[in-house]
Symmetry: C2
């Protein structure tokens, strides 16, 4: 797999790195990871601190020597997940120049992250609903920053002008964020699904006849 420079490719990797750097104890890692899984699985409101504790073999109250609050824990996980995802997508796109290829790389990578059962991270990108309004603000802001990747990617596409680029971007992101709701292992691979999505979303501008155009790769 791609291991570019710093090579952080999953939440777990990121946690391991932070651990090696001495910023995080092993237990701290376990807790973040367990919490990430539960939040992703059942949502913020439906996940109790005691649930998280049980998953790492601690009492609920014992977690508070590692976390400041449940909210802070959630926010932290969310931030880390976005960071990891952003980095990984960026490195996946690096090198590619063809706009559609770049888009495909971004989509496939995003799906690989979200659908990897071991990375248990990003499904919480859509859990804003059950989170307290105060932290929701923060989450939305961070996610918007993350989505800047796509905001920069899409203007470069030779897209059929009949399509509104604004909704186009929103629809694509909506899709990438929610495939996790029906994806089951054993069927199509994240890569296959990503390619299908790009195939659906690929509508090249119609080339006018008589206009020379060096067509990119294909």
């Amino acid at each position: 797999m791609k291991d570019a420079g710093g090579g952080v490719s999953t939440l777990r990797d990121s946690l391991a790195a932070a651990m090696a750097g001495g910023e995080l104890s092993e237990r701290h890692c376990e807790i973040l990871e367990a919490a990430a899984g539960l939040f992703a699985e059942r949502g913020y409101a439906a996940t109790s601190v005691r649930d998280i504790g049980e998953k790492v073999g601690l009492l609920g109250g014992s977690l508070y020597h590692y976390i400041k609050s449940k909210e802070a824990l959630f926010v932290r996980i969310h931030d880390m997940a976005l960071q990891v995802a952003g980095d990984r997508i960026a490195t996946a796109m690096a090198g590619k120049t063809d706009p559609w290829e770049r888009l495909e790389a971004a989509c496939v990578t995003m799906l690989e992250i979200q659908l990897d059962p071991h990375s248990l991270t990003m499904p919480l990108m859509n859990d804003f609903a059950s989170a307290p309004p105060e932290i929701r603000e923060r989450l939305v802001a961070k996610r918007d920053a993350f989505e800047a990747i796509f905001r920069e990617l899409i203007p470069g596409l030779p897209l059929d002008p009949a399509l509104d680029r604004g909704v186009y971007r929103l629809l694509l992101l909506t899709l990438l964020n929610n495939v996790s709701s029906w994806y089951r292992q054993g069927g199509m691979s994240p890569e296959d699904i990503g390619r299908q999505i790009v195939r659906i979303f690929r509508h090249d501008v119609k080339e006018k006849e008589g206009v020379e155009r060096v067509s990119p790769a294909r």
Copy 2:
């Protein structure tokens, strides 16, 4: 009596009809409607019975002369919303024969339902996560039945064979179900968005030249 040809078009209408039919008291209606709004807004786990009571001007406990339990309330709302949506989409498609037109009618109608601030209904179609596992089963089953509309619609499309019809359907439904997460009033209309979606998803099979093709035998 619900006449499929005539006019149940929102959850509120459906409630009004049930009220007129004597099946539901007015208060009962208010409660269902308020609950629908809150469930849609914050999810199942993050909505308390007292919240619902407050919205209709009652104490939490007082609701229990109208509902059996919070779970039953949720299931009921979910079922009604699906019923209403199914009926409305069916009537919107009635009459149309062209496959793409039928698809567009279904998509636009689905979005109109989900994005209508007065119908406050269907966003809970994706709130399975925070609902107790027992009722989740039931919800999934009902939703699958609802989605049969699309399962029947898509085989009729003259679709580019490079696209897998299975994921195609899933992706389309994912989109329709989640536009509500970013839709804000004042921008594009639900109809506009629906049309954009169909435009993106429209990939006709390439007709081979010289091959006569009559309407698909079936």
